[in-house]
Symmetry: C2
Amino acid sequence: MAYKTRAQFVADDIRHRILSGEFPGGTQLRQDALAADYDVSRIPVREALLTLEAEGLVEFYPHRGAFTTELSVSKIRELFDLRVLLEGHLLRQAIPRMTEPVLHKAGQILLEYDAALDSGSQIDNWSDYNFAFHEALYSPAGLPEAMNLVSQLNTKSDRYIRMQLLYTREIEKAEREHHDLLEFSRQGKADAACELLERHILEACEGIVAVLEGRVQASQTPDTPHLQHQK
Amino acid sequence: MAYKTRAQFVADDIRHRILSGEFPGGTQLRQDALAADYDVSRIPVREALLTLEAEGLVEFYPHRGAFTTELSVSKIRELFDLRVLLEGHLLRQAIPRMTEPVLHKAGQILLEYDAALDSGSQIDNWSDYNFAFHEALYSPAGLPEAMNLVSQLNTKSDRYIRMQLLYTREIEKAEREHHDLLEFSRQGKADAACELLERHILEACEGIVAVLEGRVQASQTPDTPHLQHQK
DNA sequence: TCTTTTTATATTTTATACAATCTTCAAAAA
DNA sequence: TTTTTGAAGATTGTATAAAATATAAAAAGA
């Protein structure tokens, strides 16, 4: 897994560009242009796009090409409901099996993140931190397939979470909830933890929906406006 | 979606060959050989294998090729637990929204299957029938993403279900439970239906585990023995 | 003028050819 | 005997080129 093939590299980078908002939903991803961008042939680009299709970020239309996907509000709601279901399952299995090293590691991730938060808002890797924390917390459950599904759901909704954080100031709130979550886990309070987790996820969802429906005035100008949206 | 590209065709066929047991877990899938098989170049074969990798049926090792995956007993248990969780969620959402046309369609699928069962055991498309029934039953929930996850879990475990049906005689039992499930759904008995569903899934899981651990004597000789298992 | 057919162009999809990497196996060294 | 080294062969990964298909524009007919 150490070695990275070109197709994998390109896939990672295009994924990043989609999630960062550079390629909004509905953008056609031309193989030629991308191949030129990365100075590779179109074959690894195609393979990268196929990988992203499997992740749900891109959709192929035969002989017409690949387009980035876009999620409706109802789909977003569904994704977050599934996260509640699966992450609740994971957390409930994890808490009785919780160990000190795991608690320590999760706490460490939070501290790192707190520090990054103070130094300046780098939203770019917030998702990574967030996922790393949740992953650490769920790890004692020993359920890799469930983690995999959660990871998929995260990838699909990541763009929208990013957007919400850009427009609102909910990061601090999420961070506080993370600390609480960790505390409940340390104390073995599974019910309280799961209840908090459910709120944590569903309120994030409602925040996103509010932004999508324009019910929120921007608290700051987004630094990555939607560029080159072509039909 | 009507048109099928060569890569898609090849992917469909290789998937079938994996699920049917022709390519058991750990088999290396040589691109040359497959390309010759289908009389195409290696490019569509590679793309097909990438698709299957995303489905979890195949795994790529850089510069070493693609191998069919194999599931451990613990992973199989996890997959079925997740099915319980997700399908339970779907069924619970579906039952209050159940309509007569849906009930009729699900019943129709069962009748078709009953007929096929009498005429002769064609295990090959049992999975399709089974999934079609469950899909129909869950459709009123209106949760396409959840259905998608369930479909993924099914694809991954399909090989093992097939194997179990080959060695044991549990099809009739599953079929009876399907009829009961439909009846509960018709009567709006969500709790009873979900409880039955959970048993239905978990007992199938235990059957598979029993076969894998050799705790079961074959009730019949399998008609598709594991061929060409190459290291 | 409007509709249908034809042609042209752009883009995707696939084939062929080449480069990079891994595996094998024999020979040499410890 | 066991381990290590290194070239030959095999296989994957990528580039380039050709074929197939879709979209748009132009031409023909009503």
